[in-house]
Point group: C2
Chain length 362, copies 2
Amino acid sequence: MAANDADARAQLIDLAAEFYDQFAGGQIPEMTLPTRTKSNIEYDPESGVWTYGDRTSTRSANSVRGARKLLKAVYTIEFLADQLEEGRSSTLRELYYLSESWDNDEAQFTSQDESNDLVEDLEIVSGVTREDFHMRPEESGATLMGPLRLREQTRRGEREIHCQEDVGEGGYQIPNNPDMIEFLDHDIDFVLCVETGGMRDRLVENGFDDDYNCLVVHLKGQPARATRRITRRLNDELDLPVVVFTDGDPWSYRIFGSVAYGSIKSAHLSEYLATPDARFVGIRPTDIVEYDLPSDPLSDSDVNALESELEDPRFQTDYWEEQIELQLDIGKKSEQQALASRGLDFVTDTYLPERLTEMGVQ
Amino acid sequence: MAANDADARAQLIDLAAEFYDQFAGGQIPEMTLPTRTKSNIEYDPESGVWTYGDRTSTRSANSVRGARKLLKAVYTIEFLADQLEEGRSSTLRELYYLSESWDNDEAQFTSQDESNDLVEDLEIVSGVTREDFHMRPEESGATLMGPLRLREQTRRGEREIHCQEDVGEGGYQIPNNPDMIEFLDHDIDFVLCVETGGMRDRLVENGFDDDYNCLVVHLKGQPARATRRITRRLNDELDLPVVVFTDGDPWSYRIFGSVAYGSIKSAHLSEYLATPDARFVGIRPTDIVEYDLPSDPLSDSDVNALESELEDPRFQTDYWEEQIELQLDIGKKSEQQALASRGLDFVTDTYLPERLTEMGVQ
């Protein structure tokens, strides 16, 4: 077992031991977790990301329902501990189905939400990430393209891959657990995270990664954990600036938010997944006005989402308040590919160079 | 300009020339297209796929609306012809936005559906595929993993890649236009197309591609054109059997249908995209019963979808009628990962080997 795996396993066993000790001491076993709602996430100035606040809730075995929850936790801990010992992995969905084979019917999950939530609970209380439990997501991360040479530790041995020279036009597929990657050498000046596949392909076709020494990370909409993790590592370990390029609508600002500040659902992992240094390139509401981009009117749900962002602690900065208020004012949103209304090269010849210079990145 | 590109360009110019000739001959210009509905697709015994029937509809310039449609077609033809000449490419969405820069306001698209439909119309009348027009999809194809060495022609030169030895655990990312790939050599016995990422990862973790000499193609839900195209080419050029492994519900049967028989939307491309030899491994309703898989009850929309499949010419075979009727009878559906209820190795040690032997593939 790798040192990392042994460590994760020990954390899990400690949890089970705690229940044991509670029993032994004549106490009703319980597990305490931070409350996971928007009102209980707060800014941690030290790490620069949003984390859970002080409010907690307790799962206690003092009811049948609560006892059943802890029973499921114990069975899951056993499964995960075995999985780590055997060097295997599984998906959240497999865990749900696998519970049908457990000898105790009461320990079986009744829905996938239940098993998903439990794994998140275990992440929070153990301080070990899902990836370190060897739980894979259903869908893998996206792709990288740019001047980076890396080494990936696969089950079939090590692979050294240059993310321009050794890959096709599709780029390098980020594995489920990007901590299996070691960065070897690079010629990257900055990391550019891009929301849509169409724009990612435009940048690659126009050779933007080559001309500007940038690593293009495809976010593929709301980014998978693997994509956010590798972005964080690029920023952390290689000390590279990270900029995020999305559509100009409230849903895309959330994509930026999850890259930069973490998400409410995974606030316990912000230090592992979020890149507080990440900055937003656009499409900004200001760009819609300045570049006179083709736009669509905001729908009611867009307006609601913008208003809820004004309340979201992650967006309470002068920059975002100004942009969101401008957007509510003009009542418009634009897609990143709307830049094509000025020609296919406008984004790489004009828009990005101007914005990156303004931001001091280039 | 590559020979292929010159050819595609010539087909487009021919179309424009037809309008010109109609004008010159004092006729009102028009364009005739096959009607694109389920009732107008029929089985072509020669190619083994479903194609459009004889019913057609005509776009004529005898109304302002019709004239505007043909005007847009002509502007789009010019754009595509220039794009081919310059060796560039673009996405459907970029085309939509780009039309804003056209000098004639009447030629500009009013919605993305309009430009998407027009490009499909041009595919049908010219007999040239979108990929050969250099129109990229928004999202790229999925990944390959298995004993295949290929050469991809990229904008940055040729890349030789072995889809096990030269890739990470994420596999080889299929490029937008898989016709840029040449198959070099392989040790593949059969191609296994898999719907979900979780199952794809399970097969790769368990070394199924290695043990069974199979190429695992991740479909990622409803497969992109690039994924269907490469599957067709593997079957055609390398003469490899193709089997499809999905969830056991009506939506997944449609995924199989689009791989094997083509889709209604792209019936004009069936010979290019469909793999009529492809066979369905499962999850079959029979499997839900035989292997006593964990299941969910069919929803109303599931039942409707199954009933509409019974009417769909692509599913009018004894095999599918029996399976669909059994499913309506038992009222259940199962996911492919439900096989994990028998343990994580059940799918690779028992289920797939049994099914493949039954089917005569292994």
